[in-house]
Symmetry: C2
Subunit: 270 residues, 2 copies
């Protein structure tokens, strides 16, 4: 069993564990927490794919016992809506609202090339140099250790990695390749992790940003990924009032947009 499967396992009664090693400086990654919550909630939904899922982040996720609680809000023919939370020590860590379905059944599984009805694609995957010409994201890259990065192979486009050396491009864009370090296949739960696994795009702006706590993260799963590394791009365009958005696109090896994400985050004054 891969580390990610192990770390997102939820028992029938909702009990689970926030695993160590999926964190940044001791706080579990937001995408990992969302994947863990979704793992429990999709069992309630009885449908495999979180077609649209939103988490509000309420408290840091620390390693240790946790609980997924939730209830079906509405069960329809195509979708099941579930509301719930991931709790630890009796307090909510994230509150989640999701609509679950079956992307295989919707005809989207094989992407735009398949018999899935009308297809319009106004832009394509980010253009990335081969992995070996990209900059590997390391657990020791940041001011605090990023153990999460030992679980993943995140390779950044060199044009979007200037922040590592204190020379951000100013574009507010970060792109790169994503795979699990243990080559676990990429599926719906993995896409939730991916949506928050890259360095914050605001790092590539000329902005003092050491710590960018997420208020809210929404991910839309648009198709199931085919095997192969994912290409991802994250962009922050607006920073004001102490808040910023980050928009993400995740593309699979068949050039299908498999996920879109947006988060609202805080930019604490430094």
């Amino acid at each position: 069993m891969s580390a990610f499967d192990d770390a997102t396992r939820v028992s029938l009664d909702g009990s689970c564990e926030v695993h160590d090693g999926w964190d940044i400086g001791g706080n579990a990654n937001g995408g990992y927490l969302l994947a863990l919550g979704a793992s429990g909630l999709r069992a309630l939904a009885g449908r495999p794919d979180p077609v649209s899922i939103t988490a509000h982040f309420l408290a840091p996720g620390r390693p240790g016992p946790a609980q997924v609680e939730g209830a079906v809000v509405k069960e329809g023919k195509r979708f099941v809506c579930v509301s719930g939370s991931l709790r630890s020590g009796g307090r909510p860590v994230i509150q989640v609202l999701g609509t679950f379905g079956d992307l295989a059944a919707s005809g989207a599984a094989s992407g735009p090339g398949s018999d899935a009805g009308v297809t319009v694609v106004k832009s394509g995957p980010p253009e990335l140099p081969p992995v070996e010409q990209c900059r590997a994201r390391r657990s020791s890259d940041g001011g605090v250790p990023i153990p999460l990065m030992d679980r993943l192979r995140v390779h950044l486009h060199p044009d979007h990695a200037g922040f590592v050396d204190g020379r951000p491009s100013g574009d507010g864009v970060i792109s790169g390749w994503f795979e699990f370090a243990d080559d676990r296949p990429l599926d719906a739960l993995a896409l939730l992790l991916v949506a928050d696994a890259f360095p914050p795009a605001v790092f590539e702006l000329d902005v003092p940003a050491a710590w960018v706590p997420t208020v809210e993260l929404t991910v839309h799963l648009r198709a199931r990924p085919v095997p192969g590394a994912l290409r991802c791009v994250f962009r922050t365009r607006f920073v004001h009032g102490g808040m910023l958005e980050e928009d993400g696109e995740v593309w699979d090896a068949s050039d299908t947009l498999v996920a879109q994400s947006r988060q609202l985050a805080l930019l604490p004054r430094t």
Copy 2:
């Protein structure tokens, strides 16, 4: 009292009414339903501004008595997270998850020009001709009546109104001006309505789309708008697997981005 205030009034016990006249062919507009739900939930939160709010759409909203039910998930110093629903006839119409705060207190009220800390703005408001050169959206424009449009002054950029005459631009972009027909001031609740008050951007693609039911709508409020008409732009870039996203930006008269929206919608096969 303006019609919108009347239509979004929620009693202390959560009882309210889905008002007639905010609909498209008999189904209440999604932004109106979200504003009505948020009106009830923000009373629970005790904070005025839905900084980030997500609704999942579960059943059509019909005129008549309704109920906002919800509970505070977490009360923090800056934000209060609330989960709840707008219900009618005992069934959920929308399920809502929101984080509420006070955008005035956060220093964002006066936009990027104010003393609100770091500001980065990577693009500006949509360029629109003066209102009188735009195309007024009429309640009689569609295949079904759109009574909602009698409540609003939505004026579309003529380059983005070709769909009305069966000649979509193919760009998937719709932009225009927004005001209330009764000149009600634009505030946080109004921005939730605005996020879903324009014709679907997919109408400006070469795609057979008569009916685009929303699965999920998320709105981030980035600042309180100053007085004056809003400039809005909505864009759909990816249609596949019977689903599409629509991204919105809402700008106020001081050139401040006051809201961002994204929705996931279905494109039923025709």
